[in-house]
Structures are given as C-alpha cells and as structure tokens.
C-alpha cells in the first residue's frame, strides 16, 4: 500500500515529466496551476494521466478547489 508521501512523489514526477518542469522545482505544497503554468484544460490533461498512471477513476469534481500537489495526492490516495 502506497503512503501519501509515495503518492505525492509520483504525482510530482508525473507532472514534471509531462509538463517538462524540473522535478527539483516542484514541491508538495506548490499551487500546480502556478508552478506548472497550466490552465484548466491542461489540468484535465494532468487528471487523465493521473487516472492512467494510478489506474483509478477520479471525478473532476473531487478536484474542486484543489490547487496543490499534496491535496491532489490525498484525493488520489482515497481512490487507491
């Protein structure tokens, strides 16, 4: 069973790879919209990749108001 820290690290790595932002520039409490420089359309793209990576279904309303990687990882964790 993954810990929340494992999941957070995986999300950071996924975001880093997909949006081509160096991993060392990302941290769990970052606002991913700002750090990655993405809009809601690109956030949906991230959601799709998260669903594929973790093999989960994460309704986008679960992400309502979620802007940081740590909270995002918590939402993922609850579906694992």
């Amino acid at each position: 069973m993954s810990t929340i820290q494992d999941t957070t690290n995986e999300v950071l790595a996924l975001a880093s790879t997909h949006f081509k932002v160096p991993l060392e520039k990302l941290s769990a409490d970052d606002d991913f919209f700002k750090t990655l420089g993405i809009n809601s359309l690109q956030a949906l793209d991230l959601l799709t990749r998260i669903e594929q990576h973790f093999q989960i279904e994460l309704p986008d309303y679960e992400l309502q108001g979620v802007t940081d990687f740590r909270t995002l990882a918590e939402r993922i964790q609850s579906r694992l």
Partner: protein
C-alpha cells in the same frame, strides 16, 4: 464541393473517406463562424457520397476535439437583444445545429469520430452523432452544461440514451463529470482506445477496412440499428430554450464569459 478550406474547418476525400477536420482556435468552439461551415458541409454531402463510404471527423487543434458551443459568443451577442428576440435567435441556432447533427447521424456513410483530447458539450454531441468513436488515451468526454444551469443542446441526451444505459446517462448528465477514454470504452461509448495521437490514423485504417464491405448492406445495417430519436430531440430544444431564459443561467453565463480560463466551469 469535393474539397473545402474554410475559416473553421476543412474537408477533402482520400481513399473513399471524407476527412472533416475541425480547426478553430482555441478548441473548435461552435458558434457563428463554425455553424455556417458545418451547414456547407452538410449541403455538400450528397455530392460527396457517391464516391465515398466513410466520414471521419477529427480536430487539427492540439487543445482537443471540440469544447462545444461557443457560449461566450452566444451570451455576448444575445445580451443587447430584447428577451423575445434573444429567445428567437437561440432557437434558430439550435434548430440549425440540430439539422447538421441529424444529417451527420443519418448520413449513408459509416461515420467515425477520431477523438483526441477533450470532447465536451457540443463536441461530445458531434462524436455521439457518429457511428463509431475512436479515442486516444488523452480523450475526455463530458456534459458540463448542468454546471451552467443548462442541459446539452445539440442532441446529446437522446443520442447518449440511444447508445448507453440510463444509469450511465444520468451519471454523466447529473454529475457533469468528465470521463477518460478507458472509462468511455468500458461503458460502451468508445469502440477503440488507441495510443496518444493515434486516433486519426486508426480511424483511417478502420475506414479502409469498411471499404471492403458492400455499401448498400452497410447502409441497411446502419438504418436498421441506429434510429434517430426525433421526438426527444425536439423536446430537448424546448427544454434548453426554457432553461436558457432563466436569470440563474444568464448569471452563470456572465461569470463564464468574464473568465479567461479555457474551461471556467471546471475546477
């Protein structure tokens, strides 16, 4: 017209398949520019059909397949109008897009939506009018209209209900959540899920296979299995017009219009 290059879309014929390519920034929103060109396409279909067996609809936009109706334009253009004229213009728009969707739905061709990225609202409804949906792994499908106090207006509910179980329809409609291509295939919406960026290539390969079949048989099979829910489509227009007139919808659309985000109704 065998080929066409417009401001929002183009079409051409290759190997017996019509390639209709949507290409309007940012994500093929359907408004006063796209609708007339879609109508031109529908008008050209009888001329294209004798030499073709398939229609493939795809997007040239990296942002996705289609984000649906151009609600910002619809709102901005309707605001200065008196209520009666506003309602009349909306109804006219819906009647026109329904004629386009019905023509695609009933075309005596095998129609394929090659979906990459988002197919939201009207974009989802275009895909639903097609016989087959081939989606890549980035595809997402959604009816977000309830978030704005509306229902899908381009024939989405009756067509989704035609294809899927009612519980799935309610889930998508009432939660307004988006689903990825894997989920869409699991519920029976998508026929093939392919690698990222490969939807159009696989759609063309599928169209090439269909060419081997007798055309008359394919049309007979399609006509038999794909009834058009005309009564429900008419009812949908009425419900949409009733909802659109409410202040709560106008307020939601105002907020939507003032936002600069790509999909301001999403988190």
């Amino acid at each position: 017209m065998k080929t066409f290059q417009g401001k929002t879309l183009s079409w051409s014929v290759e190997d017996g398949a019509i390639n209709l390519i949507l290409d309007r920034a940012p994500c093929n929103e359907i408004g006063s520019l796209t609708l007339p060109e879609l109508e031109l396409f529908v008008k050209a279909l009888p001329e294209l059909q004798p030499d073709t067996h398939a229609l493939i609809i795809s997007s040239a936009r990296k942002e996705g397949f289609c984000a649906g109706a151009d609600l910002r334009e619809l709102y901005r253009e309707s605001q200065p109008l008196p209520a009666g004229e506003r309602a009349g213009r909306l109804r006219d728009f819906l009647e026109r897009i329904h004629r386009v969707m019905n023509a695609i739905d009933t075309a005596p061709l095998t129609t394929i939506a090659a979906v990459e990225g988002i197919a939201f609202g009207g974009g989802f409804e275009i895909a639903l009018a097609c016989d087959l949906i081939i989606a890549d792994k980035t595809a997402r499908f959604c009816f977000p209209e309830l978030r704005l106090g509306l229902i899908p207006g381009f024939g989405g509910i009756p067509r989704l209900k035609r294809d899927l179980g009612n519980a799935v329809v309610r889930d998508l409609l009432l939660t307004g959540r988006s689903i990825n291509s894997t989920k869409a295939q699991t519920v029976g919406l998508v026929s093939q899920v392919v690698s990222e960026g490969d939807a159009l290539r696989i759609a063309r390969s599928t169209a090439a296979q269909l060419k081997k079949f007798d055309r008359g048989t394919a049309i007979a099979a399609k006509t038999f299995i794909k009834p058009i829910p005309f009564d429900e489509l008419r009812r949908e227009i009425e419900i949409f017009c009733e909802l659109f007139a409410r202040p709560v919808v106008q307020e939601a659309l105002r907020k939507f219009t003032e936002s600069t985000d790509a999909l301001p109704y999403l988190p």
